[in-house]
């Protein structure tokens, strides 16, 4: 995987911070003010102590109270400013973190469907929760801190230069050494932090996957094995964390060490200079004070740089996800479908998910507006793939797909997809009320319409038997809803969406025959006037189709109406006969 350069990461991070330039500026101002005020404190206390005097009974209480009062006021002000500064920093962090999560989600919503077939859900979640959190743990705070450090360091450096230029030479040695040490440490720690982020993502991916299969694990009694497999990943993640943190925390003590060394050198050389009469003793003492002021922020900065490594490693994962190639953008010329009739034509279509493993080839299909097209064939023949291509979840390798005579690649994706309603075998419901799931964001649908659709889909009475009826929240807990019922809900949802084309991919495979019969009328009205693509195993469902395509090994082997196909006595006839086979005569 390409490594993102530090410079690139800093630029990207700065883009986020700089959106809130005003907050940053204000923060810097508050910081200076609060520092200034707190520095004033000692001066005022000095004045107050001067007023106390040295002799018993000679205290100038008026002045003492005056300065003590001033001190109190300044301290309060300083506290207010530093609190305001904290609030600002927090606000800044909040804005950045919010924006980052938003950007990642934005990117996710543009990624091709194939991305989600490749990446573990848990790993993606880890980026959005853990990595973004790590980036922002200290980003805004660190930025201000570094700013403050730079100011203090510059100030102290100038002061030291004015006191004793020769002694500054000591720093000529120690500072580069400190810088080199920090560089060495960060050079070591960043790859380790990268490993840590990756391992945490893997751990999360694994636990997410295993928790989804918890019931299976328990049914097979494989708990201990799963726990053991988890433990392996857990140890890896913890080790990666320990190693990274160890190197990360190395920079603080080592720079502190260099500071202590310079202090020792200063005292020795300072003393020597004094003995040679080059400087006064007072100079040594103030030089020492400034050098401590000098080393404090350097220490702090080194610590921050250490911490920043983990932020960089996490930022890399975040930006990588944001930069993931989105679905090929619609062509510039791509238009919006004004009116859809529903004539669909697939011409010599070839497609493979992986190169060299063709799934469809020489695939031809013509559906006229309002026709019902059934696609049948053994599992794995490529039936669902046809749907993936129609909806442009995947793009064809060669050939052409036309909608109303227009190449679908010349139509905007969202517009194309809106032209279809879809009921899939894998039903998807989200955490929300049944009503919300049925209308799914379409606020124009009334309660009556929803109930009508639910009644037609044969799910109304079940919904009414739930404690809150249509307002029952569907979630992981409590409401046990069977797969067949889920399918009925998605059918009701499809009934409520108004489009010219309909895709039913094993839409009723988990619905019992009687319920299916009961909703057949509704299904027929759902399919009326629409171009329908139906995939079903139960051939009874598709008997009335205008055209049945029999797909085998990636291409159409037979086509025609039910009667025509039976008359051919080919593959379809065999499939059809198998339906009525029983154990006795098989």
């Amino acid at each position: 995987m390409r490594k993102l350069s530090k410079k690139y990461l800093i630029v990207r991070l700065w883009e986020y911070l700089s959106r809130y330039r005003f907050l940053l500026f204000l923060g810097a101002a508050f910081m200076l003010l609060s520092n200034f005020l707190s520095l004033l404190g000692p001066r005022l206390s000095g004045k107050a102590i001067d007023a106390i005097g040295t002799k018993k009974g000679s205290v100038d209480f008026k002045t003492v109270f005056y300065y003590a009062g001033l001190m109190a006021v300044f301290y309060v002000l300083s506290a207010v400013f530093s609190y305001a500064l904290s609030l600002l920093t927090i606000r800044l962090t909040r804005n950045v973190i919010y924006q980052m999560r938003k950007d990642v989600f934005e990117s996710l919503s543009k990624l091709p469907v194939s991305f989600f077939d490749r990446y573990q859900t848990g790993d993606i979640i880890s980026v959005v929760s853990y990595d973004i959190d790590t980036v922002n743990q200290s980003l805004a705070g660190d930025f201000l801190q570094i700013l403050q450090s730079v100011i203090t360091v510059l100030f102290s450096f100038v002061m030291m230069l004015t006191i004793a230029p020769p002694m500054v030479l000591i720093f000529v040695v120690t500072i580069p050494v400190s810088v080199m040490m920090t560089k060495f440490v960060t050079g070591r720690s960043r790859p380790l932090y990268r490993v840590r982020s990756k391992k945490l993502g893997e751990l999360n991916g694994f636990s997410e996957e295993m928790l989804n299969g918890q019931k299976t694990t328990r049914a097979y009694g494989r708990e201990e094995d799963v726990i053991e497999a988890f433990e392996k990943k857990n140890v890896e993640a913890v080790d990666a964390n320990t190693k990274a943190e160890y190197y990360g925390t190395l920079s603080g003590p080592s720079v502190n060490f260099m500071n202590n060394i310079s202090l020792a050198l200063i005292s020795v050389f300072g003393s020597l200079l004094y003995l040679n009469g080059k400087i006064g003793l007072g100079d040594v003492s103030s030089f020492v004070q400034y050098s401590r002021k000098f080393s404090g922020p350097i220490n702090e900065t080194a610590n921050i740089i250490g911490e920043l490594q983990s932020a960089f490693a996490a930022a890399e994962r975040v930006f990588r996800l944001i930069d993931e190639l989105p679905e090929k953008p619609d062509r510039e010329s791509a238009g919006v479908l004004e009116e859809v009739y529903g004539n669909v034509l697939l011409k010599d279509v070839a497609f493979s998910y992986q190169e060299g493993q063709p799934i469809l080839y020489d695939f031809n299909l013509e559906a006229l507006a309002g026709q019902q097209i059934a696609i049948v064939g053994p599992t794995g023949a490529g039936k669902t793939t046809v749907i993936n291509l129609l909806m442009r979840f995947y793009d064809i390798d060669s050939g052409a797909i036309l909608l109303d005579g227009q190449d679908i690649y010349g139509i905007r994706r969202d517009s194309l997809r809106k032209a279809y309603s879809m009921v899939l075998q894998d039903t998807w419901l989200f955490h929300g009320t049944i009503f919300e799931n049925l209308t799914y964001g379409n606020e124009n649908i009334t309660r009556e319409e929803v109930e009508r659709a639910a009644k037609a889909a044969g799910i109304h009475s079940y919904i009414m038997s739930l404690p809150e009826g249509y307002d029952t929240i569907l979630s992981d807990n409590g409401v046990h809803i069977s797969k067949g019922q889920r399918q009925l809900l998605t059918i009701a949802r499809a009934m409520l969406s108004d489009s010219r084309m309909l895709i039913l991919d094993e839409a009723t495979s988990n619905v019992d025959t009687r319920t299916e019969m009961q909703i057949q009328k509704a299904m027929r009205s759902l399919m009326e006037d629409k171009t329908c693509f139906v995939i079903a195993h139960r051939l009874s469902t598709i008997r009335n189709a205008d055209m049945i395509l029999v797909v085998k090994d990636g291409t159409v082997v037979e086509r025609g109406t039910h009667e025509q196909l039976l008359a051919m006595e080919g593959f379809y006839q065999k499939l059809y006969a198998a339906q009525f086979m029983t154990i006795e005569n098989s």
Binding site: I125, Q214, Y246, V268, S509, H537, T582
Partner: protein, 581 residues
């Protein structure tokens, strides 16, 4: 918190050593400036260059000791924190794995996932950071107070008087932030949930062009999370300025009090000046301590969430078994079983049936009639509300769970595949032999497509099995259920995506190779179950028909109706054909 202590305890001595090293390092850092003072004040006047170099050397020695102890202590802190986190995460995952289905329903998967990742991670940070920076503050605070105490007890008392206020502030803020951090993690759960739904439902969302709607939905939780984070941050942010302010005001009071003392001649201004310089140390120490408390409150909020799971009680105890085998001719027996998930409406009512070893039970009925629920009860994912389920004449609640479930091979309706090789998916951690796996794949009619399309058993299954068709997935799951030659085989709508031919071949293979296996098969197609020894027709949780295919055609109207709908034949014609045989 007590839960957390259990993990800290084994590392007690190790952590004490860490703290000792940290203590040494802190002492060295404090010693160096005073050595400097000594050189300038005492040594330089002696004009002895050798001595200057010697004391300079001592300073460097102190610096070396400081850096080595510090680095070692940091490393040890990370190691012990890592060790504790590993154990916590291990125990948490173990407990989660063994949570009952009902408990899992209550916690919900997204919440459990974030407890495993985000919460354990925050606890790890707390454990490490507290060791790394938690020593210096208290040492300096106590040291500072002791020194000022010997210097000027009265003034020190003024300063100490401000401590209760600080303790109060820190206590209030910590208490508040623990609960806000708790809320923050709950909102994080919500965000994780929306994210998960968007990943698993990507096809539907794209198909319905609901990306914008989903963006809004995410934005809502994102905003809420950011707001909670800000709230939590703002609360803790108050601690630092508040502590500083109280101490600084205390200091002002010290000066005023000092003025009175000087007036009375009880102290000199020099003492006050010295007092002030130590005061800076005390202030910094105090700030360090509040910082630790803030970190502690976040860690504690997370630890609480972890404890909730760890301390979840065992809600499905194994009932005592008195040992007396009631000889039973039945392998599996349901006796008037009644059950309800929400205790509002029965999901199953008075269900009874018996199966002898090797017999097959077919279950059919409308969606939501309780078919899968029955399986959940038999495998003891939930406990019956009334009646009992017997295995070889013994109540299943008296079996230890592993012993009970070892007998089963199951395919659930919403079963899952791992993103691993096909072989590993069939094996499912059981360490089965290659032959067993291949045989199972063969029986499950999966061998052909595996060899033909995917090359071999090592071919990878994509996440959520997305590179396989519905029927291919089902066949791998069936192979998984068959691979260990189970005593009881459960197939919950496991062949719905299979074409009829494959389905028939599967049933044939089952009949030939699994004749001794007691089988329970839920299906929508009558053809899948019509050969079963017993068929149970469920409707609304009630048994509305029980018997053989033939008996049910005669006696059960619903069954008869389904048959006619599915085959397009009159039930009479079947019965006549049967009769004529």
């Amino acid at each position: 918190m007590r839960g957390l202590f259990k993990y800290i305890k084994p590392y007690g001595p190790y952590m004490l050593l860490t703290l000792f090293l940290k203590f040494t390092a802190a002492m060295m850092d404090l010693l160096i400036p005073s050595l400097l003072a000594k050189i300038i004040d005492d040594i330089v006047p002696l004009q002895n260059i050798k001595l200057i170099f010697m004391w300079g050397g001592v300073m460097i020695l102190c610096a070396v000791v400081s850096v080595t102890t510090n680095v070692t202590a940091n490393r040890m802190a990370e190691i012990s924190a890592g060790g504790m986190t590993r154990k916590i995460r291990y125990d948490l995952f173990s407990r989660i794995t063994y949570l009952s289905a009902k408990q899992m329903d209550d916690f919900t998967v997204p919440s459990v996932v974030s407890r495993l990742s985000s919460d354990t991670y925050n606890v790890n940070r707390m454990l490490a950071k507290m060791q790394r920076i938690g020593v210096r503050g208290p040492i300096l605070l106590i040291g500072g107070i002791l020194i000022t105490m010997t210097m000027e007890p009265k003034l020190t008392m003024v300063l100490v008087a401000s401590l209760p206020f600080i303790i109060l502030i820190v206590a209030v803020i910590t208490g508040k932030s623990v609960s806000v951090y708790g809320t923050q993690q709950t909102v994080l759960d919500d965000m994780v949930r929306v994210l998960r739904e968007n990943i698993t439902g990507v096809r539907v969302i794209r198909a319905l062009s609901k990306t914008e709607y989903e963006k809004e939905r995410f934005d809502k939780v994102n905003r809420k999370l950011a707001e909670t984070e800000q709230k939590a941050g703002s609360i803790s942010a108050a601690s630092n300025p508040a502590t500083t302010l109280v101490l600084n005001l205390g200091l002002t009071l010290v000066i005023v009090t000092g003025a009175f003392l000087v007036q009375k001649g009880e102290t000199g201004p020099g003492a006050i000046i010295a007092f002030l310089s130590y005061f800076t140390i005390i202030l910094n120490a105090m700030l360090g301590i509040t910082k630790i408390f803030m970190m502690f409150s976040k860690g504690l909020a997370c630890a609480k969430r972890i404890s909730q799971v760890l301390e979840a009680p065992e809600d499905m105890p194994v009932l005592p078994y008195n040992g007396e085998e009631k000889e039973s001719e039945y392998h599996v027996e349901f006796k008037k079983v009644t059950f309800s998930y929400l205790h509002k409406r029965n999901n199953l009512t008075d269900i009874s049936f018996t199966l002898k070893k090797g017999e097959t039970l077919g279950i059919i009925g409308p969606t939501g009639s309780g078919k899968s629920t029955l399986i959940n009860l038999l495998l003891r994912f939930y406990d019956v509300d009334g009646g009992e389920i017997l295995l070889e004449g013994r109540d299943i609640r008296t079996f230890p769970l592993p012993e009970l479930r070892r007998r089963f091979g199951v395919v659930f309706q919403n079963d899952y595949l791992m993103a691993e090789s096909i072989e590993k998916n069939i094996d499912y951690f059981r360490g089965l032999s290659k032959t067993e796996i291949e045989k199972a794949a063969d029986y499950a009619q999966a061998k052909d497509f595996i060899l033909e399309k995917r090359g071999d058993m090592d071919a990878d299954v994509a996440i959520r099995g997305n590179n396989l068709s519905g029927g291919q997935k089902q066949r791998i799951m069936i192979a998984r259920a068959l691979a260990a030659k189970p005593e009881i085989l459960i197939l919950d709508d496991a062949s719905s995506a299979l074409d009829y031919q494959t389905d028939a071949s599967l049933r044939k293979a089952l009949g030939e190779h699994f004749a001794d296996t007691t089988t329970i098969m839920i299906a929508q197609r009558i053809s899948s179950i019509q050969g079963a020894d017993h068929i149970l027709v469920l409707e609304d949780g009630n048994c509305i028909g029980y018997g053989t295919h033939r008996e049910l055609l005669l006696s059960c109207q619903s069954y008869r109706q389904i048959y006619e709908l599915q085959t397009g034949r009159e039930a009479e014609s079947f019965l006549q054909a049967e009769g004529g045989r």
